[in-house]
């Protein structure tokens, strides 16, 4: 062998050794913590008090429902329940629990846990409690059978059970730590603090640590009864804005950035990063509160309609997400039952001026617009309001924008109310009833309560109440028809005016697999792995 050949041979051997040393074996790769950059914005980690987008990720990873939303984002598939049946009029649902399902402490998941969980969710009277409205009793004939009885027909009940907030809690552990499910749970339950440092579910992950505005750390549940998640440790790192998240992603400090907006995504030019833009069911809306104390003129339906006509919807999409979004007709998002062929929001300055002139408001007026200073789904809410401020100035309406912290916004919208604002919503499961129950002008809905300021102005739309009852009792094509009628009523209410349904940017390092958008849960953590 010549000297050159020997050098080449030894060099290639050395390279092979280096490559072998450098290439991380797949098993070891899965041991590395996977870091997700995201604005946490968590209101609670108590499954029955939590109500936020990060909460959806957290709850769907640490708890399991009786059913779960399938990858098609529409159908449901078994989870803790292996089978279920409903009676003919959809008032009684029977579930058979998986015989081998266990919580993270190794104890079996039993019917009593399901009963306790549903009763607590209903009685605690927090944001997601509406999901259990109408449940009259829960029977547990044996440890693996649950029968839920409803006051009225509810064809969406199975869909609701795919929502992360209905995940089953280990009742023994939670009760020992102050959780209460009885009728007085709203006042006697003391478990919220305990839930900030503990999870008590049967999901693929358990809560490792949570530090507010810092990180949410998951550890694989070593007693998980299903297929073990590939990644052993996942951290959601607090990163408030899209630019910081993009920087973390590019520097390698994060593997996934969850809230990169299309404008920022354009600035990422790295061959190591994958950017996908997918349609979502999320949407941003503006909302009128006629009952708010700060209203300078009565925000009656004609005035609301006039203001809605003055908004340049397509311009708002262009300005907020660079055109990467869609118009949305009603508070029920595109693609959900009842949304086919709904009339899209229309910009019509002439009609807006006519309506205001008919009310004697042609010279304009001022509206206070407090908005949470945050970026959601790539939309900066204060920026969106500035765009709408420009639009409304065309009909002499002055919008006084006041950006505040999200927690302050939540407080103000409840009391004394905010005349005009912008907010966002992501679905909890596939079904239209959730939107009617949250946005509809039906007694006690979140927005009926806040927009009317607890009845100071009568906003209840009885047609929506009746139609919802019919829809929940209906089956087949009637469901979509009835929800369409409700959607038209909600459009006509002009309390909630959807502005943009932004596309979702999925930005992640090429070494990560399994990143997908889920309608109920944002990002299913158990599906993530490293190449």
């Amino acid at each position: 062998m010549t000297t050159i050949a020997r050098i080449l041979a030894s060099g290639s051997t050395a390279l092979a050794v280096l490559a072998a040393l450098g290439a991380t074996p797949p098993a070891a790769a899965q041991e590395q913590p996977l870091v997700i950059a995201r604005n946490l914005e968590i209101n609670s980690l108590d499954p029955h008090r939590a109500f936020c987008d990060t909460c959806q990720i957290y709850l769907s990873s640490t708890y399991q429902g009786l059913v779960k939303l399938a990858a098609d984002d529409r159908s449901v598939e078994p989870s803790l329940a292996t089978e279920w049946t409903a009676n003919e009029d959809q008032t009684q649902f029977t579930f058979k629990l998986a015989p081998d399902a266990v919580f993270s402490d190794g104890s079996p998941v039993e019917a009593k846990d399901v009963k306790w969980t549903f009763e607590r969710l209903k009685n605690i009277q927090a944001d997601p409690s509406f999901m259990m409205s109408g449940v009259t009793s829960i029977e547990t004939p044996d440890p693996k059978t649950v029968i839920v009885n409803m006051e009225k027909p509810n064809s969406e009940f199975i869909g609701i059970l795919a929502a992360p907030y209905t995940g089953i809690i280990n009742s023994d552990v939670a009760s020992e730590n102050g959780a209460v499910a009885g009728a007085d749970a709203a006042t006697t339950d003391q478990a919220e603090t305990w839930f900030l440092s503990n999870s008590a579910g049967s999901g693929p992950y358990v809560l490792d640590t949570y530090r507010a505005d810092d990180e949410l750390r998951f550890r694989a549940n070593d007693k998980f009864w299903g297929k073990a998640p590939p990644i052993k440790e996942i951290v959601i790192d607090q990163s408030a804005d899209a630019v910081s998240q993009a920087q973390m992603l590019q520097s390698g400090a994060a593997d996934i950035a969850m809230q990169v907006d299309p404008d920022t995504a354009e600035t990422i030019n790295s061959p190591d990063i994958t950017i996908e833009t997918v349609p979502s069911y999320n949407f941003i809306y503006v909302v009128f509160s006629p009952g708010a104390a700060g209203n300078q003129v009565p925000l009656d339906r004609e005035v609301r309609q006039a203001l809605a006509y003055a908004i340049d919807y397509q311009g708002a999409i262009d300005f907020t997400v660079g055109g990467n979004g869609a118009l949305q007709a009603s508070p029920i998002p595109n693609g959900f039952p009842g949304t086919d062929d709904l009339p899209m929001p229309e910009e019509n300055l002439e009609k807006a001026k006519e309506l205001l002139a008919a009310k004697g408001l042609q010279d304009g007026f001022s509206v206070d617009a407090t908005v949470a200073a945050m970026n959601v789904y790539g939309v900066d809410l204060a920026m969106l309001m500035q765009k709408i401020q420009q639009d409304l100035a065309r009909i002499n309406v002055t919008l006084n924008i006041q950006p505040v912290a999200s927690a302050v916004w939540r407080q103000q919208i409840t009391d004394p109310g905010i005349p005009f604002s912008a907010r966002f919503y992501a679905p909890d499961y596939y079904g239209s009833a959730q939107y009617v129950q949250f946005f509809g002008m039906i007694p006690g809905s979140w927005w009926e309560r806040n927009a009317s300021q607890k009845g100071k102005v009568d906003l209840v739309n009885q047609k929506e109440v009746d139609l919802l009852q019919q829809a929940l009792a209906a089956s087949g094509d009637d469901v979509a028809r009835l929800y369409r009628e409700i959607a038209l009523e909600m459009i006509n209410d002009r309390i909630i005016v959807p502005v943009v349904s932004p596309n979702l940017v999925l930005a992640y390092r090429n070494t990560v697999e399994g990143v997908r958008y889920s309608a109920c849960c944002n990002l299913p953590l158990a599906e993530l792995s490293r190449k």
Binding site: A242, V243, N375, Q386, Q390
Partner: protein
């Protein structure tokens, strides 16, 4: 025979002694901004709050400092920014001077228990970091430039109170003051006519230098969302918008340069005034 006159002497023969480079340079920059502030509506290329073109356009002949996320002309907004930053600085410095100098003069001249009480109040206020105190006050009053101004007056008056008290203490025992007291002048007259006129120099120098600092603090409060509210073209607010678009550097460039020039100019002006008013400090 020709006589060589040193350059400096030639310069001094045409420019008066007080016209130092810092004084003139700082004064010219501040004056330019004042002129811009008064005249900008007459010649601004675009409206500061309306759409001026496509969003996120980099600097070009049409938009010298590009456009922001809402397609507004950054150059126009930067120039308009002075109409918010300067008045707030003038009001804050003015109010802080009136309150601080009154308190300081009374404390220094009267002395005794009143002096102790007032100076402890000053100590307590000064013990808080200025930005934190301003944030706390603005957060409790609510966002807005008016509330930010109130917060900054609360932060700033003790500085002048302490300065004025020190000046009054150094002057009140001079012979001319004792002579005025002996001739039967009332205490307020002694203070106003015989003491205060000798106390102003360091106060004026300080106030001039503080002008830039107030502009900076106002911008800081707006940056964190406690000052100007949208769509006000305020420099701090604009930099905050730019921070959200890190790779579109031009959005924050204009307001950043504006703040830089104002703070530098006020420091130069303050230095120049000090040299002029108190040549011993040179």
């Amino acid at each position: 025979m020709s006589v060589v006159v040193p350059t400096q002497r030639r310069w001094r023969s045409v420019v008066p002694a007080w016209a130092t480079l810092p004084l003139v340079g700082g004064g010219v920059i501040i004056l330019l901004w004042v002129i811009i502030g008064f005249t900008i509506p007459l010649w601004a290329p675009y409206d500061p709050v309306s759409l001026a073109g496509m969003r996120f356009q980099p600097p070009s002949a049409e938009h010298w400092l590009g456009t922001d996320a809402l397609g507004r002309d950054v150059f126009t907004r930067t120039l308009y920014g002075v109409r918010h930053s300067f008045p707030i600085a003038v009001v804050v410095i003015g109010c802080a001077l009136v309150i601080g100098c009154t308190v300081g003069a009374i404390a220094g001249y009267v002395g005794g228990l009143l002096d102790s009480v007032l100076m402890r109040l000053v100590d307590v206020t000064l013990s808080f970091p200025a930005i934190l105190l301003a944030m706390a006050v603005t957060a409790s009053l609510g966002p807005g430039l008016g509330n930010a101004a109130i917060a900054m007056v609360i932060v700033w008056w003790p500085i002048y109170a302490r300065l004025m008290r020190a000046q009054v203490l150094s002057v009140r025992n001079r012979e001319h003051v004792e002579a005025a007291v002996a001739s039967g002048a009332t205490r307020p007259r002694v203070l106003i006519k015989h003491i205060l006129p000798l106390c102003w120099s360091p106060i004026i120098v300080n106030a001039t230098m503080d002008f830039g600092q107030v502009v900076l603090l106002a911008a800081s409060l707006s940056f964190i969302g406690l000052g100007a509210v949208p769509p006000t073209p305020e420099w701090g607010q604009m930099i905050s918008d730019g921070a959200l678009q890190f790779y579109r550097w031009w959005i924050a460039l204009g307001p950043g340069l504006a703040i830089l020039t104002v703070v530098l100019a006020s420091n130069f002006l303050g230095d120049g005034l000090r040299d002029f008013l108190d040549p011993r400090a040179k």
